[in-house]
Symmetry: C2
Subunit: 221 residues, 2 copies
DNA sequence: CTCATACCTTACTCTCTGGTAAGTTTACTT
DNA sequence: AAGTAAACTTACCAGAGAGTAAGGTATGAG
């Protein structure tokens, strides 16, 4: 009725730039993760953010720029989540790794979109995107590798072979975690922590025994 | 010069449909894997296959149809490669799993494009594509799961808990293998079999000990 | 009240690309 | 040699979607 009171369907509120930017990135992460970079349509992102397309270009210059902003923010979030969880856990490396893994699963389960944007994009869209994705993945992997490495050096006495091995294990671990994510979707019955616990059981015990000399070779039993 | 002798630059040979179809799929797998489904351009695929665009549509009806054909062929190839390697290895489940894993790595290393098309595509492009990718992944996972399951039942005496567990392990394993693929690219020095051996060491020993009762729990050392 | 500024929109343009119409050429059969 | 079917092409259309021009409107400062 009134002219001052806004129609409730369309709040049409005007919002400061910093807030709107956040909303746009929120929307963009969702659409990018659902459709993929190329198939994502800027108009849809804008609508989801409650504004019109030119605003997106005013704030982010281009679709590519918007995507880069998404990747940067989500990578930072994930790395922080992981690091903080590990730090909070304190104590032994394996407890810290377990806390980190659990946090990772919680993140991927709760903020599926973020993970998809970070990890399941064809990086071959442009030079800038490839670079940003590489940097993002490097950041996340560095956190995981650090934890794994401390676990290894804890067991083998600071051998420098550890760094190399830790990188391998970290990659395998993150890949496994990512894949298990899919599996969890088809088994919503099993508890969320179950996955991280299972992985820890497999990987950690395996790793410990390997470091203790319990190797497996093709011709062994 | 001659009219009969073809110019060597452009053989322009006419080729039977079945052969041309194979060439088109070859080209398509390459371009799809490099650019992703949406960013891949049919003209480029056609040129790479040595023909013009309408031929692609004559043989495959649509871009979507072409992609489905790619996925179908590569999934079949990978599953066969895996199964045959395992069969050839014979013997104990772990030897078969190791042979399968090695074959998998060889496949991914040698035919990177195929794997990328199968596993790193956003399945949200269309209903048909999502269905085909799901089916393809199901096929591949079934092979791996079968091997893992036989390994588990070999150790625990045919418990039916195994099926559930095997699926988890198989997913984790394939995810790890996929991720390790990236790692291998940055470490071309380490032998190709090294990766599968490392994974076997981690996963198999871990799994064996877990089945033997050696669980890990948050509060344990 | 006015005015400056920051927020926001409608209504385009222009390129890229999936898909097709209409016809041409080769090679095999009879 | 003629006929015919399969292989192949050039040249086009139509829609989608990235990016922009030009201007409208709320809101806080003076």
């Amino acid at each position: 009725m009134g002219r001052v009171t806004r129609v409730k369907d369309k709040p049409k509120r005007r919002v400061p730039r910093s807030v709107r930017e956040r909303e746009i990135v929120d929307a963009a992460v969702h659409v990018f993760s659902q459709r993929g970079y190329r198939a994502a349509v800027v108009d849809e992102i804008a609508e989801l953010a409650g504004i019109s397309k030119p605003m997106v270009y005013l704030y982010f210059t281009s679709k590519e720029g918007l995507f880069v902003a998404c990747v940067r923010r989500e990578a930072r979030r994930l790395a922080e989540t992981f690091r903080e969880a590990a730090q909070r856990a304190g104590g032994s490396p394996e407890l810290r790794l377990w806390a980190g893994l659990s946090a990772f699963f919680a993140f991927v389960a709760e903020r599926r979109d973020s993970w998809v944007v970070l990890h399941r994009q064809a990086p071959e869209q442009s030079e800038a995107i490839a670079a940003e994705l590489a940097e993002a993945r490097r950041t996340v992997m560095a956190e995981v590798t650090a934890l794994v490495a401390s676990g290894i050096s804890d067991s083998d006495g600071g051998d420098h072979l550890g760094e190399f091995e830790a990188e391998f294990v970290a990659h395998a671990l993150v890949g496994a975690a990512d894949a298990v994510t899919d599996w969890m979707e088809r088994h919503p019955d099993s508890p969320p922590d179950g996955a991280s616990l299972r992985l820890m059981n497999m990987v950690w015990i395996g790793m410990r025994d390997v470091l203790a000399g319990g190797t497996w070779a093709p011709q062994a039993p």
